[in-house]
Symmetry: C2
Subunit: 150 residues, 2 copies
DNA sequence: AAATAATGGTTGCTTTTGTAACTATCAAGC
DNA sequence: GCTTGATAGTTACAAAAGCAACCATTATTT
């Protein structure tokens, strides 16, 4: 494991570090929604968006969460099979489907949101409040999200 | 797009932000190694590790980069097909294969490493030096990497 | 020394994702 | 009103990843 003369280390390469950190932190949480409700990551995200922002169409969710429409389509089907949501054809535009959570979906969403908050707080404990908020803001910038107004 | 009364926003959820940022920053760089050399992400990582740390076995790379052995196995086969590396059976342990870069692999690795450095500098320009180094250290901590000694 | 366990690596099968083509509906131009 | 083009969503096919079973070899146990 002798190091070469070159100076550039993968551990200074931001995309690499981001991938490792993302994988590491996602893993433990994905175990929760997988074990409790048999959800996939995209399904959890769609569920969360519906619970958080109310009834939305598939493409609205896609725009907000940057998920491709085929992934959303499959996630919606899966959530429908679980009776977590229902579709309602829009009256004015019959191409669109309004998605709304059913009681089972709302319950799962509330449960998982609480778990997500707890997990987030646990992650935050590794940092000072200043480090934490700087970290979040830096990631927002890298993800090209509009800065949160808080 | 009316917000619910609840307070927790996905944009404060670290795993979500990490995934978005990772995807966003990986995308542009993956276009480079894909277009120039037809490499997949795992292949690029294996190539880089060999270029950076010298001859290694598959499982050594896997341990360093946290990549599963089947992914490595297939990446090594692909790199071998491209004549980017060769395998040498270890004398003392005939199960192990020492992987070493061939000239074509070294050239590709040097080229891509330079591109990675340039891209990294470009990303770093979005931050002050203090923010940048804090970001890297935070990600290392989240990824459970031993802190870099620099 | 034989049996058992552990390690390095590959392969086959299944699940998941990505890409592109497709249907259906709506919007715009002429 | 018809043609063209855009949008919402689904589906089919291909690429990639995950998982488990599988050789071959080495280490360990008795």
């Amino acid at each position: 494991m002798v190091e070469k003369n070159d100076h550039f280390d993968l551990r200074e390469f931001l995309p690499y570090l981001l991938n490792l950190a993302a994988e590491e932190t996602s893993l433990r949480f994905s175990a929760i929604y997988r074990e409790r409700y048999g959800l996939l990551r995209t399904e959890w995200r769609v569920l969360f968006h519906l619970g958080r922002y109310g009834d939305l169409s598939a493409s609205e969710i896609g725009a907000m969460a940057k998920i491709h429409k085929t992934k959303i389509s499959r996630a919606v089907s899966a959530l429908e099979r679980k009776h977590f949501l229902k579709r309602t054809a829009s009256a004015k535009d019959r191409r669109r489907e309004i998605l709304s959570l059913l009681p089972a979906g709302q319950a799962a969403c509330a449960d998982l949101t609480a778990a997500a908050e707890a997990y987030n707080r646990e992650l935050a404990r590794q940092f000072t409040p200043e480090e934490w908020s700087l970290l979040l803001r830096s990631l927002e910038r890298l993800a090209h999200l509009p800065p949160s107004k808080e």
